[in-house]
């Protein structure tokens, strides 16, 4: 126990070590050579990971009610009653996050050593990457809003730097700029939200703000704060309507996409909403908005992913879609499920990205899946790991994604109603379709390329294998009760979100004040579930009776699981039919011909970019033109020249006083002395 406490004192080292790595790589990296850079780069993250695992073990030894550790590094700003210490907060949520972030980052760093070995800016790359990890860990460990905001902006910066990493490429530079500007749009609201929190609560400290927000603010104010914070999350996590930067961000090196745009940074928004959940709970409206945004995002981006041909963009849209799932989970009152999905998705998506990176690497920067095919024999390791990732992603039973997605589906069904559930189940099926579309098009069929294959090195394969392992078994931390599991993730996160069972149902019925007794909620839950179920499947009275009996949510949940699994399989099957079987080969082309309009909408990603260009950019251009010609040249230039001219004239008058005569100066001095004496 004592030893455990000591481990917690080392908490600040978790972000500090990557920072050290970043500084080293920044200052000395260019001279040190690739070997040292990669040792420092990976080693610092590895150390941070090891440390967070140690802390995690000590953390598990604590009784659940003690699992809230605050750690003040130093006092940063103290102005009046505005206190902003750099303090860290370790609770189950941030614990889970730092372990995931440092772990996945470590694997991706190792992978990057292989992926980037030929790049001439190797040190710069690792500098950015380490810096990113530092900011990300700061973000998740933050103990108050301001520190979180530092991390938040820091990861945004690193994301920008890394997207534009190959800055000679015009599209990469533009994509970085786009990501920066679009997320800044959300960050602005987030900053406003922080200010509002300070105005309302008089503090920005998480602990004191979330202690009992209902005492300080009413539901209306909570809604404003929640919506402002959510706007920030929307920007960072690429939700509709600010999602357009993420697909473009695929200009970044692939490991960066895996790290930042799949596993860590984009999930910061989810983390933020989960962190601020006590405020969201106060306002059912804001929760509904979160849920609906998530649902729409999940659905729309999944449809776009169906038709894209760029392997990384498919994955990007898939990421957006999965983030939508998480927000949906948050919106329907299942934050634990959201965090669970966040973790499993991080493993699976990082794996998929790294796998696609290996494919791209193998085919000499070929990203179009139409130009792949038959890769199964050439890069088998990549194929197997990629398939595991895809299975986990699509929610095939037994793998990580299944359990987390199922938790979300269940919560949606119970709290969100049938329509939302149906939409999300369809989305789940589409997930299966587009991930397996990649697999079937890239790894099966005839080869549609003729380059010398570039085999991934060991440093690239090992992270793939490890991530595949995680993606496969990661789900077992949250096996729900019905399947005989302990639902450990929910229990672990309970100090953050309260009892998951209570939340899941009490939320919509009594509007945020989760006070309903256990029994009551059980009945409510089973009734609601049973009712919806009747609509769906025409369930028999026995099931209803059974539901009201000892197992509160047993069979309906099982049934839901079955449905989602079937849907996932159907998606996979459809992909198989379309892209592998000979008779299905013609169907995609036929469909796109037949539904040309729909196909166009999808390939143009629902015209978001075009509309934005028309609405914002063109208007802005017009405005700029106006201000340039009418305001700048006409008014400001004249004003500036006028000021300069008058100064020049005045100066020439005054300069005539400068005779250059010592006597004159002395006289003036004496005159001044006389004036002073007379004054006295």
């Amino acid at each position: 126990m004592v030893e455990g406490r000591q481990v917690f004192d080392l908490l600040w080292l978790v972000p500090a070590i990557p920072l050290f790595g970043a500084i080293f790589n920044c200052l000395l990296g260019a001279r040190a050579g690739n070997l040292i850079v990669s040792i420092v780069g990976c080693g610092s993250i590895g150390l941070a990971f090891a440390l967070s695992v140690c802390i995690f073990r000590a953390f598990l030894d604590l009784p659940p009610e003690d699992r809230m550790i605050e750690f003040c590094v130093f006092q940063w700003i103290a102005a009046g009653n505005f206190l902003a210490p750099i303090d860290l907060l370790l609770d189950p949520l941030s614990m889970a996050m730092i372990t995931m972030v440092s772990g996945v980052s470590f694997l991706i760093h190792v992978y990057s050593v292989g992926y980037m070995e030929k790049d001439k800016c190797f040190a710069r790359y690792f500098f950015y990457l380490n810096l990113f990890v530092f900011f990300m860990l700061t973000l998740v460990l933050a103990g108050n809003f301001l520190v979180l905001y530092i991390g938040w902006e820091g990861v945004g910066l690193c994301s920008y730097l890394l997207i534009s990493f190959w800055y000679e490429k015009r599209t990469a530079a533009a994509a970085g700029l786009k990501a920066f500007v679009v997320t800044r749009f959300g960050d602005f609201f987030f900053a406003l939200g922080i200010m509002l929190v300070f105005v309302q609560f008089g503090t920005i400290h998480f602990h004191s703000v979330f202690e009992d927000p209902a005492k300080v603010i009413d539901s209306r104010m909570a809604m404003w704060i929640a919506l402002l914070i959510f706007a920030g999350a929307v920007g960072k996590s690429a939700q509709i309507p600010l999602h357009t930067w993420l697909p473009d961000a695929m200009e970044a090196p692939t490991p960066v996409s895996a790290l930042i745009h799949a596993a860590t940074m984009v999930t910061a928004g989810v983390y933020l909403v989960a962190r601020c959940y006590p405020i969201f709970e106060l306002s059912p409206v804001s929760l509904q908005i979160v849920g609906i945004t998530g649902l729409l995002t999940a659905f729309i981006s999944a449809t776009v992913a169906l038709v894209h041909t760029d392997i990384k963009r498919i994955l990007a849209y898939s990421t957006v879609s999965q983030l939508g799932h998480m927000f949906l989970a948050l919106g329907v009152g299942a934050p634990a499920a959201a965090v669970f999905h966040l973790l499993t998705h991080a493993f699976a998506k990082a794996l998929l990205f790294l796998g696609s990176g290996a494919v791209i690497h193998a085919l000499h920067d070929e990203m179009d899946i139409r130009n792949m095919g038959g890769l199964r024999q050439y890069i088998p390791a990549t194929f197997y790991t990629f398939t595991i990732g895809a299975l986990a992603m699509s929610g095939i039973p037994g793998l990580a994604g299944f359990f987390s997605k199922d938790a979300i589906l269940h919560a949606t069904f119970v709290n969100g109603g049938f329509l939302m559930w149906a939409l999300i189940v369809i989305t789940a099926s589409m997930t299966g379709f587009y991930t397996f579309r990649i697999i079937f098009m890239a790894f099966f069929g005839e080869k549609r390329w003729d380059v010398h294959i570039h085999h991934p090195g060991t440093v690239m394969v090992i992270p793939l294998v490890l991530l595949a392992l995680l993606a496969a078994v990661g789900g077992y931390m949250g096996v729900p009760h019905v399947l005989g599991g302990g639902d450990r993730i929910s229990n672990f996160l309970a100090p953050n979100f309260g009892n998951p069972e209570v939340h899941a149902t009490a939320e919509p019925s009594n509007k945020g004040v989760a006070l309903a007794a256990e029994d009551e909620t059980a009945v409510v839950e089973s009734e609601e579930a049973a009712e919806s179920e009747k609509v769906l499947e025409g369930v028999t009275a026995e099931t209803l009776a059974e539901g009201e009996g000892h197992a509160p949510a047993g069979s309906p949940e099982m049934l839901l699981m079955l449905v989602s699994a079937v849907m996932a399989f159907s998606g996979v099957g459809l992909a198989y039919f379309f892209y592998v079987t000979p008779e299905g080969r013609e169907v995609p082309a036929m469909l796109s011909d037949k539904f040309g309009a729909v196909y166009n909408i999808l390939t143009n990603a629902w015209y978001f970019d075009k509309v934005y260009k028309a609405v914002f950019i063109d208007t802005y251009m017009l405005m700029s033109e106006f201000f340039w010609k009418a305001v700048d040249t006409a008014v400001i230039d004249h004003a500036v020249r006028g000021v300069a001219g008058s100064l020049l004239g005045g100066g020439s008058i005054i300069s005539s006083l400068q005779l250059g005569l010592v006597r004159w100066y002395a006289t003036v001095m004496v005159l001044g002395a006389i004036i002073i004496i007379l004054y006295i």
Binding site: T667, V670, A673, I677, L678
Partner: protein, 162 residues
């Protein structure tokens, strides 16, 4: 007795100082200045500052004035002073300075609370000055020596022919 000494010194000092200002020839000005400085040393001695009086004679009337005279003698007579004093300038500036002087006098006499204060026995003795100088003012003394060194080097640097 004191009155005689003081008024004599006063008269010599003012006359020689005026002569510094009004003499047309630089050499005469310099010689008058020596007299003024010696008189000031006299005044210092009357004001129970014997050490300063000695230093005044050695440093000012001796070293500095020798330096000045040397430089004056380096230039030919017609080069040093080819411009007479202009009476109009003298009139205007006399008025100016008179105003200052009057102001000082007025402020001096408006608070005529100055009585002769009792002076300790060895006030201003070399021993007491030295003890103050080398304890309390040690750092300034050292800095002054550095300043002198810099001045020597600087003077040489400036005056040396290149």
């Amino acid at each position: 007795m004191e009155q005689i000494f003081f008024y004599t010194a006063f008269a010599i000092a003012v006359i020689s100082a005026a002569s510094v200002v009004l003499q047309n020839k630089v050499m005469y000005s310099a010689l008058s200045l020596i007299i003024t400085l010696l008189t000031v040393a006299w005044i210092y001695a009357m004001l129970s500052a014997p050490f300063l009086a000695i230093v005044q004679v050695i440093l000012y009337a001796g070293a500095i004035m020798v330096l000045l005279l040397f430089v004056v003698m380096m230039f030919r007579y017609d080069e040093t002073e080819h411009k007479r004093l202009r009476p109009d300038l003298l009139g205007v500036f006399s008025v100016l300075v008179a105003v200052i002087f009057a102001g000082v006098l007025v402020s001096l006499f408006s608070c005529s609370c100055f009585e002769n204060a009792p002076v300790p026995a060895d006030f201003g003795s070399i021993k007491s000055i030295g003890s103050v100088l080398y304890t309390q003012y040690l750092v300034p003394v050292e800095l002054a020596s550095v300043l002198l060194l810099v001045a020597v080097v600087g003077a040489v640097m400036l005056a040396v022919k290149r």
